[in-house]
């Protein structure tokens, strides 16, 4: 289904554009030019964010924090094996995809741990990335409660994942 979705959307936009006598080549390229400016404003945020996340992860601090939190989180039903993934999820999407791969190799792709990790990964987004890119691109310096809301929603998603994995799998 997904392979048809993008072509269908683009074709519909172009078709309706032509019908409404829009100069579609001009709007496409003008829009792309705007996209270029957006891109330029995103890059600094990407570089700094990835550097910070890398320092945190490569130092072993992320793993250490995960092992401190594991006993606490096991009280609410989050197994120790998925705690590192939960901890990294809001700050790095690529790191957690690699972790998910690792968990599946270790425990087997059909194990409860692997399924739970997959549900946790699939039901959340990389909060820090979204925040850095969205607010960074438009030059927002004071972000209000946005980060707090994003992180709390992630935490909630992990708890909901445990419930969903228990009842719906």
């Amino acid at each position: 289904m997904a392979v048809w979705l993008v072509p269908a959307i683009v074709a519909a936009v172009i078709g309706i554009g032509l019908f409404k006598k829009v100069n579609i080549y001009e709007t496409l390229t003008d829009g792309a030019k705007e996209g270029m400016q957006t891109w330029i404003s995103i890059v600094p945020h990407l570089v700094i964010m990835m550097a910070a996340v890398t320092i945190f992860r490569a130092s072993g601090a992320a793993g250490e924090l995960a092992s401190w939190l594991a006993p606490l989180l096991s009280l609410v039903g989050i197994p120790a094996d998925v705690v590192p993934l939960a901890l990294m999820r809001p700050i790095s999407g690529t790191a957690t995809l690699a972790m998910l791969d690792q968990i599946m190799q270790e425990h087997g792709a059909d194990s409860y741990i692997a399924k739970l990790a997959a549900i946790m990964q699939g039901s959340t987004d990389t909060t820090l990335y979204v925040l850095a890119v969205y607010f960074g691109a438009v030059g927002i310096k004071k972000t209000g409660d946005a980060l707090k809301i994003g992180l709390l929603a992630d935490a909630a998603a992990f708890l909901f994942s445990v419930l969903a994995a228990t009842w719906l799998l």
Binding site: G31, V47, A118, L131
Partner: protein
């Protein structure tokens, strides 16, 4: 808050590395990450330019405005500061739809456009308005119908049924989406007092 989060990641990392002797690894990874972030940025660039082009065309054809009028009754309650019939409703709806269908690459450029419009509505200040925070919350907790990369990793590792996580993940993402909306309302209420 974001500054604190970044300072924590960087300083905690360096202190931990100093204590545990992992400074060499940190140095290596740090310089690697700089190359990787530019690679990531380059891989994003084409998609970003392409989708902003498509969105601009959709806007010129009146499609975004049409969508805005359709979703206005639903979204107006979440974004009370946005004036009636404003085109940003169309961008917000397009962004949410792209997230829903797992078109993350299309969702970002559209979402940035929405964010820019919301900033204009807020008099171009560098403080996030209530609407901008709400929109960000909707994005960080966005509902995804089918988590394609997760399924791909399951397939790669030989899961018997890699798609069996779709329903539980959908339930978890929907619940957390509504939780984010409730949180957002709560914090907006607290700010006003």
């Amino acid at each position: 808050m974001v500054s604190v989060a970044f300072a924590f990641l960087i300083l905690a990392g360096f202190i931990f590395a100093a204590v545990n002797g992992t400074m060499a690894e940190v140095n290596e990874a740090l310089f690697q990450s700089m190359g990787q972030s530019i690679e990531l940025a380059i891989s994003l660039a084409g998609i970003l330019l392409f989708w902003t082009g498509v969105m601009k065309t959709a806007e010129a054809a009146g499609l975004v405005k049409g969508l805005a009028d359709t979703v206005q009754p639903l979204l107006a309650r979440l974004f009370p500061e946005v004036p009636d019939g404003h085109v940003v409703f169309g961008y917000i709806a397009s962004n949410m739809a792209a997230n829903f269908f797992g078109l993350g690459n299309a969702a970002t450029p559209i979402g940035l456009k929405a964010m820019r419009e919301l900033k204009k509505l807020n008099g171009d200040q560098d403080t996030a308005s209530r609407s901008m925070i709400t929109f960000l919350a909707l994005n960080t907790a966005a509902i995804t119908l089918i988590p394609t990369t997760v399924i791909a990793i399951g397939m790669k590792n030989g899961a018997t049924d890699p798609t069996d996580i779709i329903i539980p993940a959908l339930v978890a993402t929907i619940l957390s989406f509504f939780f984010a909306i409730v949180l957002d309302r709560y914090y907006a209420f607290r700010r006003r007092r």
